[in-house]
Symmetry: C2
Subunit: 642 residues, 2 copies
Amino acid sequence: MAELGGFQDNVARIDLSDGKVNYEPIDEEDAKKYIGARGLGVKYVFEQGPDVDPLGPDNLLAFMNGPLSGTQVTMSGRIAICTKSPLTGTVTDSHHGGWSGARLKWAGFDGLLFEGEADEPVYAYVEDGEVELRDASHLWGKGVHETRDTIEEEVDGSYGKNLSIMAIGPGGENGVRYACIMNEDDRASGRGGTGCVAGSKNLKAVVVKSNTRMPQPADSETFTEGHQQAMQAIQESEVTAPNEGGLSMYGTNVLMNVTEEMSGLPTKNAEYTSTRDAVDAGEAELDSERVSGENVRENILVDEPTCHSCPVACKKEVEVDVMHKGEEMNVRMESYEYESAWALGPNSMNDDRDKVALMIDRCNDMGVDTIETGNILAMGMELTEEGYLEDLGDGIQWGDADEMVEMIERIAHREDDLADLLAEGQQRVAEELDAHECRLDVKGQAIAAYDPRCMKGMGIAYATSNRGACHLRGYTPAAEILGIPEKVDPYEWEGKGELTAEFQDLHAISDSFDICKFNAFAEGIEEYVTQYNGMTGLDVTEDELMKAGERIYTLERYYNNLAGFDGSDDTLPERFLEDGIRGQGASEGEYCELEEMKEEYYDHRGWVDGVVPDEKLDELEIEIGPGTGVSSEDGATAAGDD
Amino acid sequence: MAELGGFQDNVARIDLSDGKVNYEPIDEEDAKKYIGARGLGVKYVFEQGPDVDPLGPDNLLAFMNGPLSGTQVTMSGRIAICTKSPLTGTVTDSHHGGWSGARLKWAGFDGLLFEGEADEPVYAYVEDGEVELRDASHLWGKGVHETRDTIEEEVDGSYGKNLSIMAIGPGGENGVRYACIMNEDDRASGRGGTGCVAGSKNLKAVVVKSNTRMPQPADSETFTEGHQQAMQAIQESEVTAPNEGGLSMYGTNVLMNVTEEMSGLPTKNAEYTSTRDAVDAGEAELDSERVSGENVRENILVDEPTCHSCPVACKKEVEVDVMHKGEEMNVRMESYEYESAWALGPNSMNDDRDKVALMIDRCNDMGVDTIETGNILAMGMELTEEGYLEDLGDGIQWGDADEMVEMIERIAHREDDLADLLAEGQQRVAEELDAHECRLDVKGQAIAAYDPRCMKGMGIAYATSNRGACHLRGYTPAAEILGIPEKVDPYEWEGKGELTAEFQDLHAISDSFDICKFNAFAEGIEEYVTQYNGMTGLDVTEDELMKAGERIYTLERYYNNLAGFDGSDDTLPERFLEDGIRGQGASEGEYCELEEMKEEYYDHRGWVDGVVPDEKLDELEIEIGPGTGVSSEDGATAAGDD
């Protein structure tokens, strides 16, 4: 591995069952094929076998950085957490920002692989090439914030300065299937239940102390040239330009007013596609502007911190004093994100700006995913309205912000029967109650803040995402809303299959670098490849790098195939589809042409009804597992049968 | 030192006389007081005693990086080479860009201190915390380019990718007093004769192989905040904005047309202050536009490479095919700098663009300073015209480009009596021939491309520079030409003493970080202090950091005082002064009000006629050496006597 820059050539495999730590080199061929972070992490998870119990000791929980992590590359502080998801049953990867990915690299590691189950709660302490397991009994039951503070007092280091603390809260401890792993300052590996897996392993936290082991570019000149191109592109982008671009000014929540305006904002569990339509239809007074980035900036913004090496500073730190249960609570947090504000806001018929801040903070402290939590609360409101929850008390009423705050804590602790049910996630709730018309998930994971009836690309992206419904696996809103790399008609379905596949591959690359997806608002494959070649010393072409992205995406799909998923799982909540069409206002009569897009998508991918044929595995040189036994000749037939 | 980020806490002291290498920690108090790079380097040189023979074994040659070297900080690839100058007899520091400073840090060192003299030529090979001396007999006599290529073949590493090679050419070997040390791709520690010192020690080169030991910020959040502020400022500056600002578009040579236009371009050994005036006065046809950055960009630009972590890319790589002595020569080089082009161009009555490229390339390969070489050639032309050189052959004619190319090689080899004389530098030539009216130096070092009759601040800056005439110790053209931080009238003398002192202190800080001065076209002390605090973990104020800049500048002055320099050495070439006023065209009748500015300057500094009083040493907590024995009470008198 001496030949390949960007790696420490050191991964720690920690068996929590017996406490043993082994240090392994990275396989150079794997590093070339799967880049790092997400790509390598998924491969490690795959090697455990796709049929492991997500909450059993055989499941692997991999914390992986990539060859660009912690470098001068813009927004390169990220880390990928890969595992088999207890929410979806698919392989999943969930990233967060801040500095933990950078610090793990600087501490001498490309990754940490946790397997087994500890008898008692532990946390892992990582410093200067060593991993040590420490007792965490005194931390069990604590929220994320208190866990962080307690650990900071115990170790030599300063939180936010040279110490990253990734921790679970009660959500993960209590097996909430969408529990997340939180990192410094409200950064979340939110989706897919990585925190639930950590909890099942009795792993309370991973603590990383910075060291000075930063890989240097193998080819400094090429690397710096790429860095310069990237910085230039970021500066010139209307989205990312520091202190000018929308993302820099308002954070992700710049999108709230935009999607409301274009009727792409799922409202009231996606009955409407804007709060305006909801009000027009006679619903309670509701205005998404109140929870928008503009409103937040004008009224409650107190700081704009950044992650490692980030010129954009999308983090918008807010402070509110909010009354809850007759008590004034002060909340200061920095993740008033668009998707969180949507899920806990308009989709739940709530537009109380400050209480949304409180809810996000509660989710973060309890360690549950804001998107999934907001969705399950909205679903719970609809279930209540429809009478499904009559056996479980009063249920939860549309837009009842105080009740929502309560429910977050109740779910995290699985405090009662209703909370215990909702902690299972939308798919299991729908199955339990036979209430499939109320669910907004794909493969068990709920959608994000983009309505696929009004942004058709998002429909095929949700459906084909390997980790369940997800806006980040193929971020078509870049093209459908922001016009990047070029503007496409959000209501047109044609071409969206290909567009989605291309975004998926591109994001698989950046997730494997591991750099923030926001780079892609400004950069393309050219900047990616120059920086990657500069760091690693490789000389790959743009096509070869895109092929690596396709390889990673296909590896995940192949894993899912072996775990029992096929094209029938690439679907959408029924209210978005022609047969189950439902919606009022702008979305009335609109549906997502999923089947047409799937045909185009599978055709582009060379998949057979959602399954990777053996020829494709050969073409991409994926050499793990038994093959799916499907050939692309079957594919021609299958596609014709669609 | 564990407390202070940005340092490796490791300096190698290499005794070339016996080949022994000792590894020393950095003194933490020194690091706080003198920052690093230039500041610490000067202190190490000081500790050898200010009375050492610059070319004797007791002189120290220190290669120093600083706490921000090689980090994400913009333009932080620099290194300071500090020694007692054989050209001036003062302490000197000379920096170059590229990656060598970064690589030395990454290899585990804050600095390399060379003392003694090797019996046979050697080079130092640095990798992963170790320094090794290797035989360089086979390299002796070789030019810089061939030296570089030969070493690259011998060692495991790739030049420009992970290997920095700092080398001297024949100039340094043959004791040319203004021989420089060259670094990758035409970067020069040009001034003050550092290469001459290396040659006297039989040290042919210092080779640094990158390693991964990069200090991480002690306070990541503060550091990243500062980094973001800096990147933003660079982007917004009309000078530095990537692909927009003048420096980014045309490199340093953006100034050629500007200074010509404002009559600030010394022409014909500073008889005129523009080529226009020279032509008007009946001189040979001459136009500085032909060697301007605009002309270069339009006609011979082939690439725009960068140094480590630089968004500006001021390097303008050119390629020319040029006839020399009946032979077509291909030249590709990347340092068509303003000062080089001026010295070898208009000041020598030459405007042959492509031959200027050839001359710069020859200077680089021979390892002699372009500024000093151009100046000595111009002086030689005036000496020839005035008949001073009649005993030494035909001398050299104004604007004879072919002869200039020849002379560069002759000087580097001290090939004949004339070359041998010119290799001594302006001061010694003037003394030898009693031709003081022809010299353009201060303290033995020649001026740069800014005429102090039309930019008064440059006059006081040249005069009070601790390393002899220098545009970079207090870069008043920032204010006088570019209006940074605010526009001041270049013809006004009042306020320039203070302005110069402030620039000197600010540059002492950036030279000690060690980051490129070009940051200062966009940033100020605020960005500096935030990044410095973030990296080191200190919590110094802006005032404290400025005080450190003053301390470093004062330490140098104090060294010079002990070496015999006082206010009488803070002077200017006589043609710039009222008594010796000389000039035609715009500069006719103009002179530099040096004495008035010196009074203001010393008053601001609290110095007594150029000497640091003991009270000032106490105030700045400079605790080295015996004190100057001067008190500021003397100062009041001395100032009154001026």
